[in-house]
């Protein structure tokens, strides 16, 4: 790696109104390296990536390609320069075929004025085969698994002969096996001389995959080093600007009395079968398993979003059968859904309105909202949870991911639940906010709430849970106590082994 960087950005500044998102960020990416870009939410990663991919223009600073200064006016300019981006959210058209998706936004091969479908299909097939994906290119994309869809996105990015491939949180919806195959692919591309910018909140992945790391904090580049020169504590220190103690869960609380939540034989055809599960008050129980193992469906069924075909649900000893989320909330059950953007928040509404939304949902609708009480709840939540926002009145969309997730959590804690269920509670949240969210869950359990956490991040479950239930194809495959549970064991049972 003695050659000059292929892509270099220097002294980038960008302001959004009063927010100084970038204040002198830089990054230099060499051909044939995996370059990790890390930083907490709000550190300016997205802004930097958006500049590199031509979606926004910096207020000042330079971007150069192979030593020549360039100015990307739009994403097409960046693509022409050889920079392709695969974003967090899928940008595929699910009903269109693989071929059409690979060529999305570009001209297909033509014969005269008409599309030459056979040739186009062959080209698309070659593009996905290069990535080790061997499927019929005329299949609609929605029929593929999430990791295969990701491959299609990467194939599309590479089919423009990209010299730089930006992967923004590519693993957030993949299972461990899928992540491994993605990493294999990324290493191959690196060996072919492609420069890869890799963004992930999972530091383990960063250390596994990256050759170099650039660390952003508060819009500045605060460190850049080969991966061998950094260890985990140093990296975290650079990212958060302070040392962060590793979380140690408090000892298990033994409490008598009825289970906070008790499921017996709960069945939702096609998703979950015969689930028996108990969560004691003050206990944190984890649900592990691959994507599609039925974890989300199980939580949703308890919350009244699906009607189970059989089985019983008891909350604090009394039999319940929730027909809607409203019923579940009244029954003392709270549910933090997996997708903050689609399920968790109303983005145009203020942090305050979002925060009280669930706890006021059973009040009479002609009532005037009690401003004083609401503001007290909001203030307590903001202080207690260290939610950082300009004011509770700003649209919640303006908060960073970690703060948004805290607002979602605060919304549900404000309902005073007996049972708190969470699906992927720290997805897309940076390490600092993650630690704070863990502490909030420990506090909730401490106060006697039964907590049921579903997560595809096994280290998270190992940190949080007193017990871990591993699901496989809709059934509970194993129950592991805290002492028994290891990442390897969870992965073993989650993969269907016995």
């Amino acid at each position: 790696m003695t050659e000059d960087p292929f892509l270099q950005a220097e002294a980038l500044h960008k302001r959004y109104g009063g927010v100084h998102a970038l204040r002198g960020a830089r990054i230099a990416v060499h051909p044939g390296e995996v370059h990790a870009l890390v930083g907490e939410n709000g550190s300016g990663k997205s802004t930097l990536l958006n500049i590199l991919s031509g979606q926004i223009r910096p207020d000042s600073g330079t971007v150069s390609l192979a030593g020549r200064p360039v100015e990307f006016r739009n994403p097409t300019d960046a693509l022409r320069g050889g920079i392709a981006t695969v974003t967090q959210e899928t940008t595929l058209a699910p009903e269109l075929s693989i071929t059409e998706n690979v060529f999305l936004g570009r001209r297909m091969l033509r014969r005269g004025p008409l599309i030459d479908w056979p040739a186009t299909r062959r080209r698309a097939l070659a593009a996905v085969r290069r990535l080790g994906l061997d499927v019929d290119p005329s299949l609609p994309v929605r029929r593929l698994r999430p990791d295969q869809q990701q491959m299609v996105e990467i194939a599309r990015a590479l089919s423009i002969d990209a010299r730089v491939l930006v992967l923004d949180e590519p693993t957030s919806s993949l299972t461990d096996d899928e992540v491994a195959s993605l990493f294999g692919l990324v290493r191959n591309l690196r060996d072919e001389g492609v420069a890869i910018i890799f963004v992930s909140h999972r530091l383990k992945e960063v250390f596994d995959l990256a050759d170099r790391i650039t660390v952003l904090r508060d819009g500045r580049t605060v460190g850049e080093a080969p991966v061998g020169e950094l260890d985990r504590p140093t990296l975290i220190h650079l990212m958060v600007g302070r040392a962060l103690e590793e979380m140690e869960p408090p000892p298990v609380q033994e409490r008598g009395g009825a289970s906070a939540l008790r499921l017996r034989g709960l069945t939702l055809p096609g998703s979950v079968y015969g689930i028996d599960l108990d969560v004691a008050p003050g206990e944190i129980v984890g649900l592990a398993g691959l994507v599609g193992a039925g974890r989300s469906e199980l939580l949703e069924t308890v919350f009244g979003l699906h009607r189970p075909s059989g089985g019983t649900v008891e909350v604090e000893g009394s039999r319940v059968s929730f027909k809607s989320p409203r019923g579940a909330i009244r029954g003392g059950v709270a549910f933090v859904p997996a997708d903050r953007k689609l399920q968790g928040l109303v983005h145009e509404m203020s942090a305050r309105e979002n925060l009280v939304m669930a706890s006021t949902s059973s009040l009479a609708r002609v009532r005037r909202p009690a401003a004083r009480r609401e503001l007290r709840v909001v203030r307590e939540s903001f202080e207690g949870m260290r939610i950082r926002a300009g004011s509770p009145r700003v649209p919640v969309a303006t908060l960073s991911g970690g703060n948004q997730q805290k607002v979602v959590l605060a919304k549900w804690l404000a309902t005073g639940p007996r049972v708190l269920m969470l699906d992927e509670p720290t997805r897309g949240v940076d390490v600092g906010a993650k630690a704070e969210i863990y502490q909030l869950l420990f506090d909730a359990a401490e106060s006697g709430v039964g907590v049921l956490v579903s997560s595809s991040e096994n280290p998270e479950l190992l940190t949080l849970c007193d017990r871990i239930l591993v699901m496989f194809r809709g059934r509970i495959a194993a129950e592991l106590s805290r002492d028994e549970a290891t990442e390897a064991r969870i992965a073993y049972f989650a993969g269907g082994h016995r």
């Binding site: 983005h347 145009e348 509404m349 309105e353 609708r365 002609v366 009532r367 903001f382 950082r388």
Partner: protein, 361 residues
């Protein structure tokens, strides 16, 4: 950052954010408000007959039907829908009024109340239930009821106008209270009630929440179906009130009225800065939008220009207002703009709820 500073920053809403919230809400219809003031001054200076008591009253009473219906339409658009059937329902309300008064022989006040309730019931029980309870597309459902109600109007009335001779009903259009015509009072009352409902009730919040993110609203325990049924009942009620005013102005129930009402009302709502994607906007903007259309129409006809030019100008302004909005956001709104999609301001969403924060500190 130190946590003390953080807490202080977060819990004390500053005057700056308060001003920003007010400006944010007003900004959504600022362009149209300025244009309204502009054309009002222009017609006042160039047309001696324009700025007279009689003409202003004429302008307002002439706008009253569209005003009332547009206020109702605002609720629907805030939930991310649109009601194409309001014009047909307005015409149907006239026929129902004539039926109740002429044929059933109810006293006029009862007939009026019955008409409004019937229209609200039809809006909620048909459009509302199909859209809110069964989850059908608002566009298809209201396109269907547009056709159904118009057909019923024509069958029931035999396409003939029926006269309604009641001094009470005439009075709705032509009597005055404190020197101001009743339709203007009805406008004011509709606006005030709608504003209070949207700003100061949980139901109002539900409307914004359902329009902003229906899934999050449902998961938060909000009764989405009931909210939607209520919203379509409200626009039905407003169409009923509009139908009564219309019948009173004509002294008759005509099957021909209301053809252009749904699109005019939608234009007024969108001119007023309410997002057609839902969740953003309010009735104050709608009031400005209706007054803009009404002033333009009145001013042009006084100037001797064909009032059909009003349609052309309204369309142009609608597109211009949205373009200006978009350009402004590209100047300042960065990340928010992309989150919200197109056609939204970089601003606070709802009518600002400012006074509470200020009071409690």
């Amino acid at each position: 950052m130190s946590s003390d500073a953080t807490v202080r920053d977060t819990v004390r809403p500053t005057m700056g954010s308060r001003a920003a919230a007010i400006w944010g809400a007003a900004n959504r219809y600022a362009v149209v408000l300025l244009l309204l003031i502009g054309i009002f001054l222009f017609f006042s200076l160039t047309q001696p007959d324009f700025f007279s008591r009689a003409n202003i009253e004429n302008l307002l009473t002439g706008s009253s039907i569209l005003f009332v219906v547009s206020i109702g339409m605002t609720f629907v658009v805030l939930t991310g829908g649109i009601d194409l059937s309001v014009g047909s329902l307005l015409a149907l309300s006239g026929i129902i009024l004539s039926e109740l008064f002429n044929d059933v022989g109810l006293p006029a006040p009862l007939a009026v109340v019955g008409t409004c309730l019937a229209a609200a019931f039809l809006g909620g029980a048909v459009n509302g239930v199909l859209i809110g309870r069964l989850g059908l597309s608002f566009f298809v459902v209201t396109l269907g009821t547009l056709s159904i109600y118009r057909g019923v109007v024509n069958i029931w009335s035999n396409t003939e106008t029926t006269y309604i001779s009641s001094s009470f009903i005439d009075g709705i259009a032509f009597s005055k209270f404190l020197g101001i015509a009743y339709p203007i009072w009805i406008m004011i009352a509709t606006y005030v009630v709608a504003l209070v409902v949207l700003r100061w009730t949980y139901f109002g919040r539900d409307v914004y929440a359902v329009g902003g993110n229906i899934t999050a609203a449902r998961l938060s325990g909000i009764n989405v179906a009931r909210t939607l049924i209520m919203v379509y009942a409200i626009v039905g009620l407003c169409a009923g009130i509009g139908g009564v005013i219309q019948a009173a102005r004509l002294g008759a129930a005509s099957p021909l009225v209301g053809e252009s009402t749904p699109l005019d009302a939608a234009a007024a709502v969108l001119l007023g800065g309410t997002s057609f994607l839902g969740g953003v906007g309010g009735v104050t903007g709608t009031a400005v939008g209706v007054l803009f259309i009404g002033t333009l129409q009145n001013g042009l006809s006084i100037s001797g220009v064909s009032s059909f030019w009003q349609q052309v100008v309204t369309g142009v302004i609608l597109i211009l207002a949205i373009s200006i909005d978009l350009l402004q956001q590209q100047g300042s709104g960065g990340p928010l703009r992309r989150l919200r999609g197109f056609g939204h301001g970089p601003t606070s969403s709802s009518e600002p709820t400012v006074e509470e924060g200020a009071r409690s500190d």
